[in-house]
């Protein structure tokens, strides 16, 4: 045990280099910086509901319309320009993004239910997030104007009826069904909130697996590149302990790196999406449907992730034996990254059960798919699938450790190489 701890300590010291610390800090700072910028842009957009209006009509109807827009939350600014051209010119030279022109005779025409077009001028000054939002504001304004005019017309002609009842005579009542539980609510809202709250799980998974694997490969590559492996293999310590120490150290440093990256990523996502807060009503609905992880669920997901990491480390240490230096280690990580990315994207954008049988089998054969599958199935209480995944990963891990032990106990640990440009694996 003492020898193993010495190996572990050495591996951790070798992996936590100044370059790694700087790279982690730089990435977190960068994420934080981008997140802050995006957040301030989002705030600006949220505040940007100010519109400028040139009212050439000046009738009672147009005044009612402007009052309606104010009540709907728009900040209405009236321009005093004589005509449309001067108003456009003024808007061009000012920081005005949206100009609404109410034409002369608009009120008169409206009273006869023969409407004149309202002109909306959007001034594009950039193609940033803020710039694109102006187009959405135009739609909101026009929609609000239509709402006000149609409501006024309906109120005038059918004073005893609610305009909303005339426009939408049938209301729907939505129910969400999860397994045996039925609850009243909106399926789209439930899906969207569960998705947004669990979006981090696949990202964390992917990062931990990729980071840990990269660490193992680097550790093996460094031993070979710095020519320290031969000496290490002749000291009186079991070869299995050498391999396991590399795996454990890489797993720990990979996990730590992933947590730090995730903190930065969270800042970034908060900036992009805003803090995810839900109404009590929606929380209550999600709770009634059982769409929340319990402590036992988190433990189960943790076990699934743990076995996926073990499989990744087992596979990577075998690949690591074949690398000759850090450069070849970078090449070697690509196929593994692909194996992690495939289930990651499928779980993010699709349902694994909806895939065709051959692709589903392929995905299920990849051990790293199972934590992704587990994260959704735990919520849906499909525990059989989760346990099957854990058992499968355990079997894969045992096989990988067996292969790894065989390689480390022979001279293949030194002689096995993967040569690119030639046919295949070559034993020297």
């Amino acid at each position: 045990m003492r020898k193993f701890l010495n190996l572990l300590k050495k591996e951790i010291k070798e992996l936590i280099t100044l370059q790694l610390v700087i790279s982690l800090l730089f990435t977190v700072t960068l994420f934080y910086f981008i997140g802050s910028i995006v957040q301030s842009e989002v705030k600006k957009i949220e505040e940007k509901r100010g519109i400028y209006v040139l009212n050439l009509d000046d009738s009672q109807e147009s005044k009612i319309l402007l009052d309606g827009l104010s009540h709907a939350g728009f900040e209405v600014n009236i321009l005093d320009e004589e005509n449309k051209d001067k108003a456009i010119e003024y808007a061009k030279n000012s920081d005005i993004n949206l100009l609404i022109v109410i034409p002369e005779g608009f009120g008169q025409a409206a009273s006869e239910f023969q409407f004149k077009d309202i002109e909306a001028y959007s001034f594009i000054r950039s193609f940033s997030m803020g710039g694109s939002v102006n187009a959405a504001v135009v739609d909101q304004v026009i929609s609000q104007i239509n709402e006000i005019i149609s409501n006024n017309f309906l109120k005038a002609n059918f004073p005893d009826l609610n305009p909303e009842d005339i426009k939408n005579p049938i209301q729907s009542k939505g129910f969400v069904v999860v397994k045996d539980v039925v609850a009243e609510g909106s399926a789209s809202e439930v899906s969207s909130i569960v998705y947004s709250q669990s979006i981090f799980i696949p990202v964390i998974l992917m990062m931990v697996i990729v980071f840990s694997s990269q660490m193992v490969l680097s550790a093996m590559a460094m031993e070979k590149q710095d020519k320290t492996l031969e000496t290490l293999l002749t000291v009186p310590v079991s070869r299995k302990q050498i391999a396991i120490a590399k795996m454990v150290a890489s797993g720990l440093v990979g996990l730590l790196s992933a947590v730090i990256y995730m903190l930065g990523f969270r800042y970034y996502m908060n900036g992009l999406m805003g803090d995810i807060t839900t109404s009590n009503q929606l929380n209550d609905l999600i709770q009634r449907l059982g769409l929340q992880y319990t402590s036992a669920d988190y433990a189960l997901l943790g076990i699934s992730i743990f076995f996926a990491i073990l499989c990744a480390l087992g596979l990577t240490i075998i690949l690591g034996v074949m690398v000759e230096n850090l450069k070849s280690a970078q090449t070697m990580i690509l196929p593994l990254t692909f194996l992690v990315m495939l289930p990651y994207f499928i779980s993010m954008f699709s349902d694994i059960n909806s895939l065709s049988l051959p692709i589903r089998v392929l995905v299920m054969l990849i051990p790293f798919s199972h934590p992704f599958i587990a994260s959704q199935n735990i919520l849906l209480r499909n525990y059989d699938v989760v346990f099957y995944g854990i058992a499968y990963m355990l079997v894969v891990f045992v096989i990988l450790i067996f292969i790894c032990g065989r390689i480390f106990s022979t001279d293949k640990v030194l002689t096995m190489k993967l040569r690119f440009g030639k046919k295949n694996l070559l034993d020297r």
């Binding site: 010291k13 280099t17 710095d226």
Partner: protein, 241 residues
């Protein structure tokens, strides 16, 4: 010099179709320096790597202190240390941490580690830099650090592949003296070199190896007499011609 501690018989090693060793036999006695000399590709390093438990022989037998290499590699590792020709040390560790790390595998108590470090310091000669990271050391400093690592535990057998490789004349002389000192204290040495003058100075017995076969074994003086040669280079030339 007395008991045989290493016995190599009929040793063969193939790399695919290439026969690196074609059946070699030799013995190393307790307290002697036994050297393998020969040109590049003769099979010296392959032999040392097999004895150091790094490579598996294709055929033949290696016995160290009565332990069979194929059956008890772990037991053999307890009694040997190996200095490869092209070796390095962990760049992110300090020289002292590196020595402590390596010592911990042989030491039975923390006191042993201290004794090993003390011994290593007497070999190294740059104690003031031991707390610096290995990455900042020169090639010569790394070589001396590695040699100190190989000798500090006073192994039963130190396997040294080109021990003075990369060292200047002064450092090479110092290293040779250190090796001689440790042998006096009971360490046996199996070394290889293509520097035949070095071998002449250091070794008690030599094996001249070429193309995977041992051509001659004997004391340097006896070999020179046998072949009427002034030095081992001449002996070697006559043997291969």
């Amino acid at each position: 010099m007395g008991d045989v501690i290493l016995k190599v018989s009929g040793l063969k090693k193939n790399y695919g179709k290439v026969e690196a060793l074609k059946g070699i036999d030799f013995e190393v006695k307790k307290g002697e320096i036994f050297a393998l000399i020969g040109p590049n590709g003769a099979g010296k390093t392959t032999t040392l790597r097999i004895v150091a438990t790094l490579l598996t022989p294709t055929d033949g037998k290696v016995e160290f202190m009565g332990y069979d290499l194929k059956k008890n590699p772990d037991k053999i590792r307890e009694g040997i240390t190996y200095l490869p020709e092209e070796a390095g040390a962990y760049k992110n560790l300090t020289g002292l941490d590196y020595l402590k790390f390596m010592a911990s595998f042989y030491a039975e108590s923390p006191r042993d580690v201290d004794i090993y470090i003390e011994r290593a310091m007497s070999i190294i000669g740059f104690k003031d830099r031991l707390k610096d990271k290995v990455g900042t050391y020169s090639k010569g400093m790394i070589r001396k650090l590695l040699l100190a690592r190989a000798l500090m535990t006073k192994p039963k057998l130190a396997i040294l592949d080109e021990p003075t490789s990369g060292l200047d004349v002064i450092n090479s002389l110092e290293v040779r003296e250190v090796i001689k000192e440790f042998v006096k204290e009971g360490v046996s040495v199996l070394l290889s070199s293509h520097n035949m003058l070095e071998i002449d100075f250091l070794s008690d017995r030599v094996a001249i190896i070429d193309k995977g076969r041992i051509l001659e074994i004997g004391e340097p003086k006896a070999l020179k007499q046998k072949y009427s040669a002034e030095n081992l280079e001449e002996v070697f030339r006559r043997l291969v011609q």
